[in-house]
Amino acid sequence: MKKIELIITLQTQVLDTQGEALDRAVKDIGHDEISNIRVGKVLYFDIDETDTDKIDEIVKSMSERLFANTVIETYNYKILDEETV
């Protein structure tokens, strides 16, 4: 059993309205040094598999089919260390 952290973000050329709104909000707070905020999603899940190749195959397949829309999004995942779970 492994724990997966999957991060999904909008592709850089796709307008991120949430990021835009947040950009304005941080400036309202007075932090002009922060910019280009991009908002993504993170999914955590357990996978009943230990072979890293097999995990890669399953996570990619599920990301392409359901978790992400690769027309507008990109995804990255990592297998979390047992200690951090």
């Binding site: 909008l10 796709v14 307008l15 309205t17 949430q18 835009e20 709104a21 999603k41 089919r65 359901l66 978790f67 829309n69 027309v71 507008i72």
Partner: protein
């Protein structure tokens, strides 16, 4: 002509679509998203709303629901498939139409009557409209900004797949796109709601003709193929 009106949890334009089909003299039946066959139907209508609460992404969950395979099969069999609003989002999610729908560039949810142009009247869906005819359908969406790559956009233009455009782009859609069809011409996705434009007394009855077109699908679709 018998239409399936597919119902997902969170669909909320299903009754309007049913009403539109019946109003033009077609038959209609609701079909639950857990069903696995649409063989008994001559056409498929996918309603607007917020299927599965728009969880994860608009149309994402509906895109893997049991009924999806049957929708793809109906499209393969050259039956008319019409997705409106959330239905359009679902059609892009399952790959029957290219591109994706993202948040309106102006950040807001927009609900109002919108002036549109039928830019391609040579389809089974738009046959009895004049070329470049203006129509008024309501829009009601927060994620209706049509996005695709430049390459896809050129392809859509080259194949005359752009059917409906906004006269004044409300949401940032590339090329003012409000509705597109697949290459074969039998799958139409659109953000505006023709099923909410059936009564002049309520603002517009421009939507009626779209449903009249689909009701006479065999005749209309054949003449443009």
């Amino acid at each position: 002509m018998k239409f399936a009106v597919v119902r997902f949890p969170g669909s909320n334009c299903d009754r309007d679509l049913y009403n539109a089909a019946v109003k033009v003299g077609a038959k209609a039946e609701y079909v639950d998203y857990r069903e696995t066959s649409l063989d008994d139907f001559d056409g498929v209508l996918i309603p607007g709303g917020f299927s599965f609460g728009d969880y994860l992404r608009t149309g994402a969950m509906a895109g893997v629901a049991p009924i999806t395979k049957s929708i793809k099969k109906a499209a393969d069999e050259d039956k008319p498939v019409l997705g409106i609003c959330n239905g359009f989002q679902i059609l892009t999610e399952i790959g029957l139409l290219p591109g994706a729908l993202i948040h309106n560039t102006g950040h807001t949810f927009i609900s109002r009557n919108e002036s549109l142009k039928i830019v391609n009247n040579n389809t089974g869906f738009t046959k009895n409209h004049a070329e470049n005819e203006d129509v008024v359908y309501p829009i009601a969406h927060g994620e209706g900004c049509y996005y695709c790559t430049d390459e896809t956009y050129e392809e859509l233009k080259d194949n005359n797949q752009i059917i409906l455009t906004y006269n004044e782009n409300p949401n940032g859609s590339i090329g003012d796109i409000a509705g597109i069809i697949n290459k074969r011409g039998n799958v139409l996705g659109m953000m505006p709601h023709p099923e909410r434009a059936l009564e002049a007394v309520l603002g517009s009855d421009d939507g009626l003709r779209l449903f009249e077109n689909i009701k006479s699908w065999e005749e209309n679709h054949d003449t443009v193929r």
